[in-house]
Amino acid sequence: MSAADTASPPRRRPTSPRSGRGGGLGRLGAARELGVLLALAALVAVTAASNSRFLSAQSIQDVLLSAAILVVLAVGQTLVIVTRNIDLSVGSVLGLAAFGTGELLSSAPGTPIPLALLFGLGLGALCGVVNGALIAAARVPALVITLGTLYVFRGVDHSWAAGEQINAADMPRGFLDFGTATLLGVPVLALLAVAVLAVVATYLRSYRGGRELYAIGSEPTAARLSGIPVGRRVFGAFVVSGALAGLAGVLHAARFGTVDATVGTGIELQVVAAAVVGGVAIFGGSGSAYGAALGALLLTTIGSSLAVLRVDPFWQQAVVGGLILAAIGLDRLLAARVAGRPGRRRVLHGA
């Protein structure tokens, strides 16, 4: 397009408006999730090729069931990470809520399941309130605070449990059945996780509050200047993350039927890995709950595949690490591809 045909006064850049890097954020975001999806598909294909039973109904159910807890955690973590914060205490919160729920159910076996879920959710939210209050009110880095509460909540859990273990026999039958029940062949826990995912993802994508979380993570100073209630939003994100970790704790108790004070130890790194693999930027401002959930599904599937493929147990962890690196590398590669695709660049005169 020639510039000569534009009228006076001369308009800057007479060519069509630039759509810069990531023009169409949606497209870029989708591409990231696509990358994880591709990796997932490849993994399933390879595993299924070597063992067709990997695609059996029971097997798929198992993977979904396994992923449910990590998905719930990763979705909660996404809320926090997009605000340029992090919640490392989720493993301890999960442990605390799992034990608390177990304790509740063993002492009051008549407790209905929804109430147990609410109890765990509430316990987790309480932990989230502690995190959020410290971080938002004192304006201190979340990594330090949640590393601290990782120790504190776990310590509280240990003191509470004092070596006690709650076994399947101590919990009501109905609760244990809930852990393995299916609806139309889909595990109920997985459905629950999908519901959580849908709600959080929609909030993040399409509600002002959700968009403000991204704004805060993208540039906290600017967020403050635009009148966004930064403290309140960050606080809210931590409360929800805590609540979801609490929910995950209940799910854990239901699924495994055995709870002691060590439940969920070290899961926080897996959660962060799931979010990062799913394309949630660790420095805030971008990424989606869907991506994080896909990341969680991918990590779980890796675990299941390695078990099915009978990979040498000594190699398994190394392979998991390698696959995490590969996944984030692939994500970066795809992002670069999308950004560098011709046609998005400035149109050069005469070009």
Binding site: A3, R21, A215, S218, T221, L225, I228, R346
Partner: protein, 498 residues
Amino acid sequence: MPLLQLREVTKSFGPVAAVRGVSFSLQAGRVHALVGENGAGKSTIVKMLAGVHQPDTGGIELDGRPARLGGPAAARDAGIAVIYQEPTLFPDLSVAENIFMGRQPTARFGRVDRAALRAATARLFERLGVAVDPERQARGLSIADQQLVEIAKALSVDARVFVMDEPTAALSGVEVERLFAVVRGLCERGAAVLFISHRFDEVFSLCDHITVLRDGAWVSTDPTADVTPDTVVRRMVGRDVAALFPKEDTEPGETVLEVRGLGRAGVFEDVGFSVRAGEIVALAGLVGAGRSEVVRAVFGVDRYDAGEVRVAGRRLPPGSPARAMAAGIALVPEDRRQQGLVMELSIERNATLTRLRRLTRFGLLTGGGERRSAAEWADRLQVRYGRLADPVATLSGGNQQKVVLAKWLATGPRVLIVDEPTRGIDVGTKAEVHRTMSRLAGEGLAVLMVSSELPEVLGMADRVLVMREGRITAGLSRREATEESVMFAATGQAGAVA
């Protein structure tokens, strides 16, 4: 009754009294200019109006009633829209979301209506003549485009008071004219505007009243018609200011910087020029022409795909600012907050960051040398600071710019590349910067200057290169360079000088 009234407001930052008992008022339908030297307290007043800072004493009245602006949200709700001096965008979000953050149009169930959001932004950009895709990410926008988005953001608010802190600092004439048209429109609809600029032509052509600040204190408020630029400058600075663009003619020496066939896919193409010792070459063009990219590539912060850069005949390896510095190039970048300074570090650390090795003793930095050197340069460039150990973020915008200049001038370069060197700098210091550049050129320095301020280009340059859409479209000698000829070459309209 005035729409907004400042009564004896005072604001201190620790030992620094930024604003001392200032009063003035804004009238509906009028544009009010606020002028003063760098660090006079203009932005501090803006931030008080924006609710970012609370006055220590004194107060702000809206419609004659005291208003408590407890935070940015409160100010917005009170009908005050603000354009901050430093653009504050969310780099990860789309331009449209940046503009409407927190006020996005919603559809059913309170969901954000993306289509309406895009449409509203497009309408706004149309009005301002901004050619940016509303859907693109804000990251990577040039300073000028960022400024335009900021302006759009403020205009999108249905406000009665518009506060604009140097909105035009990064803009060239075309955008400025557009902005002025919009501002006049706002006034016709009964809004009051507070306008801050260091460019006197703008102040005098747009504003109805002018308030002068000095050292945080109020000096005068007059109708524009009653004062002249000279009187205003005298009140600002407290003395007369010498001629603004005193570039003396010098006999250029041999070629120091030579650029041949430089290209980078999609950004610029076939860029070639040379700069000789003692010469000031200006790189002119419209915002977005690619000038900043070219100088960044020359310095080595950006890579390039084709061509070469030579300094005094020796080829410079691409992509290494360290090697460029060793060869004697210095680059004062356009974005001082992101590229020029490390905001959290002290003034002293910033000023000496470019030449730490020269300040060591036995390979170690003991502090004394750095302090002395920093103090010396801060004085030379008249930086107003509390303590050298304060974070550079506490300086006013113009003073930050001076620290950037100090940091690079102190390296004693052979080639000085300056990108918008006087952006946000007050008249007094601007003269000082120009004098310094001129003197350095006289001493044999080769200067390459990117500037969007046409008077600066015409006044300072020995030669003017004009860029348009990533290519050099004209090379004009000082004699050939006029407002018309440069604009023609920059816009590509018929009649451009070859």
